[in-house]
Symmetry: C2
Subunit: 296 residues, 2 copies
């Protein structure tokens, strides 16, 4: 019987890759993709499926305890490909801003304990009631400057994540890889880099040249598809690779060519994925990763 | 009693500008904003409200008859700021492609009859089942090359509209003003220009420099707001100016500075706007235009 992929219900392409399969050597499960799982469950799920790495989120990690989570991952022999997430650095109010900076310092410390060198930074949106996009972007740049030296002390890089312009107003004012690199390049590469997430950057006419430019600055490579019609909740409009419109292999090759040979995280916010059995989600993403991301 | 704006229900800012108000000298109603109105009704609505121009759509114009619609507009003393729309030029299939080119030639002829010099071109999305975004973009460029000489013969420019990346997969593969200009600049300015629509370009970190670069190429300037949370239907997520996150005046000044002194169209796809009384929509947009677009 052929296995069925989730959430599409389509037949699996070929046998499901599993533990020991060399093609999974760079595959990481971003914890949000199986968000019903605790850290312990996600770690066990990665081991069962033969994934060597996991991308963690602060919420579930804090529920588990940072040191406990770090031990779980180490004991399982997994790498932590990144910690999601710091950022939200656009507040104009001094108190809120101070609080955000402090929270980002804690996030850097947590990343260090977890043994990852990348803290994903989501810039934050334009504050409620403001229309000053340029001002919000300026405050992100200032905050990154304040955090960068501490990041290096922690042995962690601020991984600036350019986000799809659909989120510019309310979530992430860094909108293109070029813009994120303009900011990152103001700082040493040991302090500030970028995330390349296919979902966020696939539409960009300059994406291939900007990935080349990002050589030495790529902290994280994340994959997820752009599906249509867009689900009603714009936050949940990512899809399993192969269910949408993105051609992954050319982006993966560009990232490889730029010298990034680290883990490749699958990060999918999608109500149907979240409703599916998490083990089936991991089996599907391993199969789709081989078929669509590695495939040349 | 203070008038209430639609669809927000917020109190109007100051008296509603009306016929003879010099501040309305460039204001155009894009017919889609009041899509319950026929051409005749929209023309009459513009006259009642003191708007000197209208942006027409092919569907309602064809229902009325192109020559009849042209006469209505002329008799009412209105300008036609643009005709929406041509484009959808990404089909790989030769038959579909030939049909699209032929349809665009008809659209150019209709624009000429209507007395507008701008046919808005929506590029089209990636064809169903394809993930070849670069190929789709290449076919748009080829098609523009095939249509450009005929556009000049018609006395109409192909007004390439860069669309928000939210529509890249299924509607418009031209995603930034810079990308649209790269294509437009391959042709004489009499043949190919661009549309600047605030809704589509506001998020772009390069928008001000690209508007400056667009000098001599701006065929149309359209305004509409980006609202959050996004309505469930991604096609209908535009808002009345002032109800969202866009700072209009700086974009308007940049367009002015680039030498565009033509009409400014209000184009809003929004279920709540469409459900409101169209005269109330026009009154609101005239007021909001003065407050948010003209305001310095």
């Amino acid at each position: 019987m052929t296995a069925l992929d989730v959430p599409s219900g389509r037949s699996r392409i070929g046998p499901t890759p599993g533990p020991g399969d060399a093609r999974l050597a760079r595959l990481s499960l971003n914890q949000m993709t199986t968000n019903r799982w605790t850290v312990a469950e996600a770690v066990a799920g990665c081991v069962r499926a033969g994934l060597p790495a996991i991308g963690l989120w602060r919420g579930p990690v804090q529920e588990t305890g940072v040191a406990v989570a770090a031990r779980m991952v180490t004991d399982a022999g997994l790498r932590v490909s990144s910690l999601c997430r710091g950022g939200f650095l656009t507040a104009a109010d001094a108190t809120l801003r101070g609080r955000a900076l402090e929270d980002n310092r804690r996030a850097l410390e947590e990343a260090a304990v977890l043994g990852t060198d990348s803290l994903v930074i989501v810039a934050g949106g334009v504050p409620a009631g403001s229309r000053d996009l340029a001002g919000a972007r300026g405050r992100v740049a200032d905050a990154v400057g304040l955090l960068a030296p501490y990041a290096e002390q922690c042995g962690v890089r601020l991984a600036l994540e350019p986000m799809h312009p659909i989120y510019c107003a309310d979530r992430g004012v860094l909108s293109t890889l070029g813009q994120a690199l303009d900011l990152a390049e103001s700082f040493p590469a040991e302090q500030v880099g970028v995330v390349v997430d296919t979902f966020h950057v696939w539409w960009d006419p300059d994406v291939l040249s900007q990935i080349a430019r990002a050589a030495g600055r790529i902290c994280s490579f994340q994959v997820g598809d752009w599906i249509t019609p867009l689900p009603a909740d714009a936050l949940l409009c990512r899809g399993m690779m192969g269910d949408g419109h993105i051609e992954f292999a050319s982006l993966r090759r560009a990232v490889d060519k730029a010298g990034y040979h680290g883990d490749i995280e699958v990060e999918i916010f999608n109500a149907d994925v979240w409703a599916a059995d998490p083990d089936a989600v991991v089996a599907t993403l391993a199969s789709r990763y081989v078929a669509h991301v590695l495939h040349d």
